[in-house]
Symmetry: D2
């Protein structure tokens, strides 16, 4: 199972980008994959091919009306690790013996 | 005001890294800066120099007992935008007219 | 046309990773796409689907014998911009009116 | 010794960014640190504090006339490894027993 965090920024739309993030999030939410939105990107959990398929749909949505787009992606693959989207944060809190802001 | 998202990965500690993330989060939490932990990194809000100071303290903590460390950082600077750690997610939800998983 | 820069790091192989980078580069070179290796990753130029296909082949090569893999990718899409792998560096030097180290 | 790769993108300047990259590169070149420009960013070698000092000077140069700036940075710290900017690429080629495009 793989976690993918990504953000997609059109460079020809000025500095207010929440409309474009909203279009991307609507696609992510419709995918049925487990995800979490944070202030700098979105983390999605799935199999590699599912994640690249989702990334492609999000990119193609913004490509429709953008001349230049910057995409930043990180993947964390761990063999056999389902549920990582919840377990990673939990595991950090257990190791620290306390809760952090999530 | 600037948002910084970062993750620090020691490469000589095998695949279970939550102990190292916990050490970093303890430093972030003690900084007094607003932050959110997510499954792929931590987002912190502050002034540029505060953020680099925090990044340095986190790096130096792991440098004590690691031979090789990978650090990934993204900054989103927006002139005069305080409260971005909450407002960015809210703004995306308003633009979409719905709530997403956070 | 899109530029993709990426690096793939197995986390269960210790701190000497050039053997794994070499396996990835052999796949990149065989793709026939234009690319440049740098000390922190590899930049490849192609169409979106070609690039994701290549990324997948590289990931699956290391997935064969790694338990945990970190992948970092950036895309720079620019409508209609072929030859960007050479032109971007050239354009920076022209704007500065001088040469930089490449 | 640490390698830092970074790119700085102002979001309020449209899609032609080479002028801004040129301003950043002029600062990097003047630092005296070893560096290489590639089509997606610049790799610099130095001590942690030198690198963060350089990153700050580059950021503050663009902050003068930008409302919103995106910065992407990766660090690769390796204890005692001087000359990594050349040695990493060389080491990959040795492991592969051939040359790649650099």
């Amino acid at each position: 199972m793989t976690l993918m965090e990504f953000s997609i920024i059109p460079l020809d739309k000025g500095i207010s980008l929440s409309e474009y993030v909203a279009r991307v999030l609507t696609i992510i939410d419709a995918s049925g994959l487990e995800y979490r939105l944070n202030p700098m990107g979105t983390v999605v959990e799935g199999e590699w091919d599912e994640l690249l398929g989702l990334l492609t749909r999000c990119f193609k949505e913004l490509e429709k009306d953008s001349e230049r787009i910057n995409v930043q992606v990180k993947f964390d693959y761990r063999k056999g690790a389902a549920g990582a989207i919840k377990n990673k944060v939990q595991s950090v809190q257990e190791k620290a013996g306390r809760r952090f802001k999530i």
